[in-house]
């Protein structure tokens, strides 16, 4: 057991890491660090989730020429806390003929998969909990678990709307996983590594990957954004919860905190997709043109967050502009358009790297 614990390469900032190891025996120190990281990431998770909800509401309001929440606190910054309190205090209702075990399990599937997902991101040079050499692959694998939660939730609810929503989710996620994977694979050709911290190191010398890979990288980015939006089940791909057709889709029967788990997971998924885009295309925590490289105290995590928020606003822009797709249109888009373009793009990128035409 001790052996296992020691081998998990968890690191927060190395100073704290070293300090904890200096004052404790090794096993206790590694357990302390695990607990510390868990607490930090749970806090991060809650803050990101809550404030993305606020950002979504504000941005949606601006796109529709409204003001958005502005009553609770200045510019409505405490609105989201009030919402969370409301959700926590609500009753957990359910209907009679649910499959109790699966019904209660489903929200945890969804939320745990997203929580594992954010653990691998390098928020800055030091602030990365889990730096494994198959980082991107791990992310795919983990983000695919989330859909099981949605399927199970829809199935266990014993509700036709929930079941239809869940089935649509399965269909959509499995189809678009292909595009996400292939578009990132195109970029992996360029980096030659799957480790997220290494991918950023590649960009430190050669410029951001979207510039290094020019045309195929831009095509890959566009495909990634389309498929990523579909992955997170957001509009225009929100067939899963299509309000006008399915009530609330797969979480029709959920209320209170269980509903909040699905809801938070959707927003954290958006954060994960935006973070992958930032790491793989826009240089992660690297500053643009190295403008803050000389300043040692500058928090690099700020660059990461700025870029992530930009990408998230782009995704919200999609959401509040485009109409929802029909199921057949959804599948046509994936299998007839995105997949062939993606395969051609992958070949194109291979040729570019082979001929050494990268910038």
């Amino acid at each position: 057991m001790n052996f296992l614990i020691m081998n998990i390469p968890l690191n927060i900032t190395s100073t704290i890491h070293d300090w904890i190891y200096s004052i404790m025996p090794e096993t206790a120190a590694s357990i302390t660090i695990m607990v510390l990281i868990a607490v930090i990431y749970l806090a991060l998770f809650a803050i990101i989730g809550l404030y993305l909800v606020l950002l979504e509401r504000k941005v949606a309001a601006w796109f529709q020429l409204r003001l958005g929440p502005n009553r609770v606190g200045p510019w409505g910054i405490f609105q989201t806390i009030a919402d969370a309190l409301k959700l926590v205090s609500k009753e957990l209702t359910s209907n009679d003929r649910i499959d109790k075990f699966l019904y209660n399990l489903a929200p945890y599937f969804v939320i745990v998969s997203t929580l594992i997902g954010i653990s691998v991101f390098p928020f800055s040079k030091q602030f990365q909990a889990f730096d494994i050499n198959i980082g991107l692959f791990f992310l795919f694998a983990v983000s695919s678990i989330g859909v099981i939660g949605i399927l199970v939730g829809g199935w266990a609810s014993n509700n036709k709307f929930a079941l239809i929503g869940a089935m649509r989710s399965g269909l959509q996620t499995i189809s678009y996983e292909l595009s996400v994977g292939l578009s990132l694979l195109t970029m992996v050709l360029l980096t030659g590594t799957l480790q997220l911290s290494e991918i950023i190191e590649v960009q430190r010398t050669g410029g951001w990957l979207i510039l290094q890979g020019h045309i195929p990288a831009i095509i890959a980015f566009m495909i990634f954004m389309i498929a990523g939006t579909a992955e997170t089940n957001r509009a225009p791909f929100d067939l899963v919860e299509a309000e006008s057709e399915l009530g609330a889709g797969f979480h029709t029967e959920y209320s209170g905190m269980k509903f909040a788990y699905f809801f938070l997971a959707e927003f954290i998924n958006m954060f994960i997709i935006a973070s992958i885009a930032v790491v793989v295309f826009f240089g992660g925590w690297l500053s643009p043109f190295g403008i803050t490289d000389g300043i040692t105290w500058f928090p690099e995590v700020l660059w990461f967050l700025i870029k992530v928020v930009m990408i998230i606003i782009l995704m919200m822009w999609f959401r509040w502009t485009f109409p929802r797709l029909r199921v057949d249109q959804l599948l046509t888009l994936e299998w007839k358009y995105l997949l062939p373009i993606n395969l051609a793009n992958l070949m194109f990128m291979a040729v570019i790297i082979w001929m050494n035409w990268t910038i």
């Binding site: 020429l65 409204r66 003001l67 509040w320």
Partner: protein, 158 residues
């Protein structure tokens, strides 16, 4: 070949849509259409098309334009309008003539459909733009639209 032109046109139309909403996003702070109502009740101006309640405008001589033809009463689908009328002798011609005694309007029953205003041949009743119509007793919602002692304007019937 329509495969590629489909992609091109699709992307083009999506970008057109994003341009529109993007413009809104940038100008949202100036052009927000939200009225923060209780805060701005002094300055809030209702729009011309807003339907608050039916009123009968009177001029400075306490004269209205209602001839008592009852078109509005007939047009009203749920009986919100009752006209109590009478015949009186016109002092100029010496003939008997219809005139309104009371034009009663039940705001509590009105659905703001506007058929009475469309039906009125003399434009005697119009929409008002007031919006704070709640009262503590529903009897306040039964209103007499013509002011006491008012008469019909000369020449409206011609």
């Amino acid at each position: 070949m329509s495969y590629f032109s489909d992609i091109y046109n699709g992307v083009k139309s999506l970008i057109t849509g994003m341009k529109v909403t993007g413009g809104y996003f940038i100008h949202a702070r100036k052009g927000a259409i939200t009225q923060q109502y209780p805060d701005n009740r002094e300055t809030l101006k209702m729009f011309d098309r807003f339907r608050g309640e039916v009123v009968m405008p009177h001029d400075e001589n306490n004269q209205h334009r209602c001839t008592g033809c009852q078109s509005c009463e007939i047009a009203c689908p749920n009986g919100s309008i009752e006209i109590i009328w009478d015949r009186a002798i016109d002092p100029e011609t010496g003939k008997k003539k219809k005139k309104i005694d009371k034009h009663i309007y039940h705001l509590s029953m009105c659905t703001m459909c506007g058929l009475c205003i469309e039906a009125c041949p003399t434009d005697a009743i119009v929409w008002a733009q007031n919006y704070e119509n709640s009262v503590y007793d529903r009897s306040y919602l039964t209103k007499t639209l013509n002011q006491p002692g008012s008469t019909v304007q000369a020449g409206v019937e011609d």
